[in-house]
Symmetry: D3
Subunit: 237 residues, 6 copies
């Protein structure tokens, strides 16, 4: 039923390439099939103004797509002078998700800036970004410990994310572009390795979805995300 021949719950092959670039404290190329995102984590002394003097750290995130990461060239956001609503929405989602992975008090007054830049898009760029950024974040936290910037590990738990949806009446996991553009419903799920939910964003594209379909999607998401945790651990070991 799926263009790729995958089973409904089957996610695409995943690869993590750590130290993909040399300057960032954490730098990961994540691939979900043909979706490829460069995720970097940059450590910076100090925190935004609203946090100063509280002894806590912060995690921010920005998302972008190279103009020709997509089938037809998109206008470069730097040239058009503003980021689209979609870009800002995804940036906010990535930042909230990663903040939920970190004990900000244990970070000290330091900021970690996450950048997720899509170099090739085939569906699921926001969930790939979160999953890859979490590995880059771990590398950055290790860097901070090695440099003596922090003494304890601020990581509360790994997080990972997958997209699920209703495609031709069936719940499926990790939608690629062909599926995504034809799906009735699209849902992004972010979870902790402790089996809890960080974000659930489900949207009916064409047809409203039932409570039962919601349950099916959540179950597929849980299963797929558990596989992602295994991949993350393998990559980090």
């Amino acid at each position: 039923m799926r263009p790729s021949g995958r089973t409904p719950g089957q996610i695409r092959p995943i690869t993590f390439t750590r130290q993909f670039t040399t300057h960032a404290e954490g730098s990961v190329l994540i691939e979900f099939g043909d979706t490829k995102v460069i995720c970097t984590a940059s450590v910076e002394e100090g925190v935004p103004r609203f946090l100063k003097g509280q002894g806590k750290g912060w995690v921010t995130a920005e998302y972008g797509m190279l103009p020709r990461s997509t089938h037809t060239r998109m206008r470069r956001e730097a040239a058009s002078g503003k980021q689209s609503g979609r870009t800002l929405e995804i940036s906010r989602l990535i930042a909230r998700s990663l903040r939920a992975a970190v004990d900000l008090s244990a970070l000290g007054e330091n900021t970690i800036n996450i950048d997720c830049d899509v170099i090739q898009a085939d569906g699921g760029t926001r969930t790939a970004s979160i999953t890859g950024a979490c590995v880059a974040l771990v590398d950055a936290l290790n860097y901070m410990r090695n440099k003596g910037i922090i003494n304890t590990n601020p990581l509360k738990h790994m997080i990972a994310a997958v997209s699920v949806g209703i495609y031709k009446g069936q719940a499926i996991s990790d939608l690629e572009y062909l599926e995504d553009s034809a799906a009735d419903t699209d849902m992004n799920v972010v979870m902790t390795e402790t089996g809890k939910l960080i974000e659930v964003q489900g949207t009916a594209e064409e047809e409203p979805f039932s409570f039962d379909e919601m349950q099916e999607m959540l179950q597929l998401a849980k299963q797929g995300i558990n596989e992602l945790f295994d991949e993350q651990k393998a990559a980090l070991s």
Copy 2:
């Protein structure tokens, strides 16, 4: 347990004031307790470029807050020269939700622009906006039929929305500001009157939430939204 003494599933008093302003084809002041939003629906001939010549219509939405709708004055977005990520995200949510209520083919090549302007905020402004805008939309569609712009009713079903969350470990419905700012999880749910889901956006603010908590919140949302459908019908009759 709740600051207002409400029970967990109890929503605030709701009022709809139709024809709140005179120029818009649909104009509704919706009040969810102390949250007050002016929702207008403006009918415009023609559609955005990407839809031209397809015989279909479109629904857009923009959300804004008056600078002093909040406890402390916010900077006016028109003066700062750009809309925040939050504003754009809510505008997109409202637009997607209302498009799901309408058979765009039955609209002809016409656009309905929804404007939701918060004049007083006390939590739940985005769900109040959707709930009020649906009533303004119905008034605008009636106007179009009365003027002979369209011949059939493009409304597929009413939609309404409520926020739910986990507050002091308990699932509650229709969070006011005091609850919202202290909640562990915040979830916005948009449903059709046929009992299906249009949007589910759940976010862990402090603590991740379990699948069971998710179910409890969805049940409260369903119950609250059903009450909103009754209020909408009363207002429209």
Copy 3:
């Protein structure tokens, strides 16, 4: 002669609704017939940089229109990324006028931000804004005295404003939209309750106006503004 049947010097019915919204220190809905403006006065500690350390306060103002306050929907300025020249011009006029009502030295190093948001427009929105904002300002100053932020009353005198014009060859007062769009000359006058002028802005739209017509318009303005002072006092008592 006038579409409404009013006499040349007759202004529209005026209402002030104080405490229209709950968060602002001063919040007034002013109605000049069908023109409706929400005027809020927000008290803020501190002053702009150019005034720091002088022991004086400041009054600013911003004006906006809801997109569908007008007959046809206007583009939202926050979305277009800049305020129009008209918006900035009116904001500057409101701010200058209200500063003229206040002894800035008696304010201490505090700022009062005036926001005038038009929710329904039928001519005279800038003069309604000034007239309503002065009442909101008084409420904000009273708040400051009650809170002990200031010890004396910085109000030098009430101010109020009305538009006058030459319509079908005749000087008239308080133009509504139908008159305004057909007038030869449009003049906005701001006065103090002591009978002096703060601002006079007269513009020939089609035909230049004579010195005699100018005198007639000024007399009508004086008479109309005196009625507004009575209404302001009634609202404040």
Copy 4:
């Protein structure tokens, strides 16, 4: 009493240099004492969209100041990314004033763009701009007639402008910077050579002004503007 020793009604020496630059159809350097403005009128085929197909023309205007036309350097507006409210307000004033000088129907579907760029500022830049731009406009209209673009003269009457004010309790004409910055009231008056008013913009800077003071200022303005008409005619002959 005046820093320059001028009598209250005495305006500064005025010079017009026509053909100051070579490309524009009309190009005038106007000097009001030390205030120097380059005024150009550029003829362009076509009209803005809202006028298309009506057989009428249009006149627009833009005002700017070189960064070091003032005592201390101002930030370049092109670099800061937006024009100030003051700049837009003056641009609108110049455009309205010059449109009042022209029979737009006699222009055909052509646009005249006025640019007023202050190269040295010593008070009264907006009134100098209007007065100089009117001469540049006449040159551009003559160019159009010579080229056969129009057959009749669209000029209805010359216009000119002067600033007046209350300085040390006395009405004076054509304020230079030292006077302007210390004046209680500042008023800009634009008139036609037929003795009628186009614009009157009076602003109390510190002290409200009386109706009597308003009359005195208007009389001085009339007298000063009449001298400007003589200068314009001399320059054009």
Copy 5:
């Protein structure tokens, strides 16, 4: 003398990875040592307005850097709302250079958009961009011929570029970051494979340079660029 031990005229190891991403008609990852740039060439029907109806094509280019391509994180230009002068200057240089490689008449009314995105920076990003983009351009032109969009080969000659400079008093080729930041003079040279110059941009950073030093740098540039032409051909064969 050089940090890397290279001889003055020795360029870094160069690699081209064609088809680096899948959507673009031409997509090349170019590496000059540790400098890595993704260069894509996107074919688009139609030309900018100023060229319409002339039967000629166009080539544009945009340059960008990922925020953490550099030692310390740079602000994302899409977020800051404008491209820096440096970014625009480099984009213009790349576009001019590639237009010089193409017979625009032979392109038909089609546009090729070049995007050069630096994922890792170690000096020489603009010359690497030009050198890599030329290969991506060839792939895009081949795509156009294979699809029958054009019938002849519009490529006039390959182009390539290298940076040269004066470092510690000595002319050297292909400066890496450590050298670039300490160089007295920096010069970028773009040449054709026919041995002619397209662009020469030399800048004294600290010390002015002599005519003799200019000659030495030009000779090194010629030699280095000739090696680049060999690498380009090997990559394309």
Copy 6:
């Protein structure tokens, strides 16, 4: 061969008008034939943030063109909300060139802001700007010494600039607009009075240029710039 009848190496008549405007510490109108640029140098206490506390000064520059300095009116950059790539590129070139003329350590923590505003353009505006700005800079430095702001002369050497190019197969100097728009190659050269190079920017517009042509252009540039140094000295004496 040249439209003006000039010999290949002949530059246009040059005039410098010092103290062209009164407020700036240095203010020069430079004319290269029909190209006219107002160059001002403004002295300001303090330096940009990245230089604070180092005891060094800074020189910045901004370039602009009046909208009707050109044959057809250009859009005003302040109105369009951003400076073009060309404008930023020229501003950067002027700033770099002038910084090369000054010993920044001898400036103290002061900034000199250069503004070059083209009031009439006939080719070579950027080189005229640099040549005129250097004279304005000298006047500003003299002002600083006279006021006791600095004790030594920070000027290392005069700088001047000229454009050269290949026109109808021949190297020529100081291109006017007619030549510039038809030239095959355009090169801007900035030199010190000590005979060294500060900037060389050569661009093939249509045809690549040979190394020999490059030498010819450089020789013409040297000769022309030497004449400019004579003119600068005459103007300053």
